[in-house]
C-alpha cells in the first residue's frame, strides 16, 4: 500500500476541553495510524494538559477522552514527546502525567514508556527531522 514510510508529527498545543482541537487531533492520529507511517505526537504549551492524569469532565458535559491516549500504543504510536519547559511553566512535572505505555510485540509484549521528555531545543530538532508536521 505505501511506497515510502514518512515521518508524521502531530503537535498538540491546546487544552483538552473548551475547543474540539485535542479530540480532533487524536481522531486524526488514530485514523492516520492505519496507513503504516512513522507517527509521533508532541505535547507543548497548554497541550500538556491533554495527558494530565485524573481528568474529570463531569462538570462540563464533555466526554473524558483521556483514556484514549492509552490506546495509542495499540495503534503503534509509541513516541509521545512532551516539552519540559511547557510543563515547568505550568507548575507540572512528568509525575502529573498519565503513565502512557506501549507493548513491544517483539519482546513478548514488554511494556515500555511512550512519553519522551524533551527540552524546547530538542523538540525543535525533532520537528526539523519530520516529513510532515500537523499543528492542532
Amino acid at each position: 500500500m505505501s511506497e515510502e514510510i514518512k515521518k508524521f508529527l502531530y503537535l498538540n498545543r491546546r487544552a483538552p476541553y473548551g475547543s474540539i482541537y485535542a479530540w480532533e487531533a487524536l481522531e486524526v492520529v488514530l485514523i492516520g495510524a492505519a496507513f503504516d507511517q512513522d507517527v509521533s505526537l508532541a505535547f507543548l504549551d497548554d497541550g500538556v494538559y491533554q495527558i494530565v492524569k485524573g481528568q474529570d469532565t463531569a462538570g462540563i458535559d464533555m466526554k473524558n477522552f483521556s483514556p484514549t491516549y492509552s490506546a495509542l500504543g495499540d495503534y503503534e504510536v509509541t513516541k509521545l514527546y512532551v516539552e519540559k519547559e511547557s510543563l515547568e511553566e505550568r507548575g507540572l512535572t512528568v509525575d502529573d502525567l498519565m503513565d502512557l505505555k506501549w507493548e513491544d510485540e517483539d519482546e513478548d509484549w514488554a511494556e515500555k514508556d511512550s512519553i519522551i521528555l524533551v527540552s524546547r531545543e530538542e523538540l525543535a530538532k525533532v520537528i526539523e527531522g519530520q516529513d510532515v508536521v500537523f499543528s492542532f
Binding site: L30, I31, P67, A71, D74, Y75, E105
Partner: protein, 110 residues
C-alpha cells in the same frame, strides 16, 4: 431508525448503530444478529465482550487491525487473524461486531 428490544424502542442511527451506548443489553446483539441472518455463538460473544471491554477502557472502538492483534494476544493466535474474524462477522469484524456490541462505528472505519 430504531430497534425493538424487550418491548422497548431503542434509537439507532442511519447505519443501525445504537445512539445511546447505555441502551445496550445482550438482547440488542441477538436481535441485530438475527436481522443480519446470523446466530450468535460463544465465539461471537468473545469478540463482542472484548469490544465492550476495550471501549470501557479506552473510550473508542478499536480499528480492525488493532482488534485483530488484540484478539490474538488475548484469545490466542489462531483467532487473531482477519479470516477468523470475517468468518464470524461477514460484514466486517469492526463494523458489524461493534454494532452488535452497541458501540459507535470504529474510529478510522470509512
Amino acid at each position: 431508525m430504531a430497534i425493538e428490544v424487550n418491548g422497548k424502542t431503542l434509537e439507532t442511527d442511519e447505519e443501525g448503530y445504537l445512539v445511546n451506548l447505555n441502551d445496550w443489553v445482550p438482547e440488542v446483539a441477538e436481535i441485530m444478529a438475527k436481522e443480519d441472518g446470523l446466530e450468535l455463538t460463544p465465539e461471537h460473544w468473545d469478540i463482542i465482550n472484548f469490544l465492550r471491554e476495550y471501549y470501557e477502557e479506552y473510550q473508542i472502538a478499536p480499528a480492525v487491525r488493532v482488534l485483530t492483534k488484540a484478539v490474538g494476544k488475548k484469545l490466542g493466535k489462531e483467532k487473531g487473524n482477519s479470516k477468523y474474524l470475517y468468518a464470524l462477522f461477514p460484514y466486517g469484524p469492526g463494523k458489524q461486531a461493534c454494532r452488535f456490541a452497541g458501540l459507535p462505528k470504529p474510529t478510522g472505519c470509512i
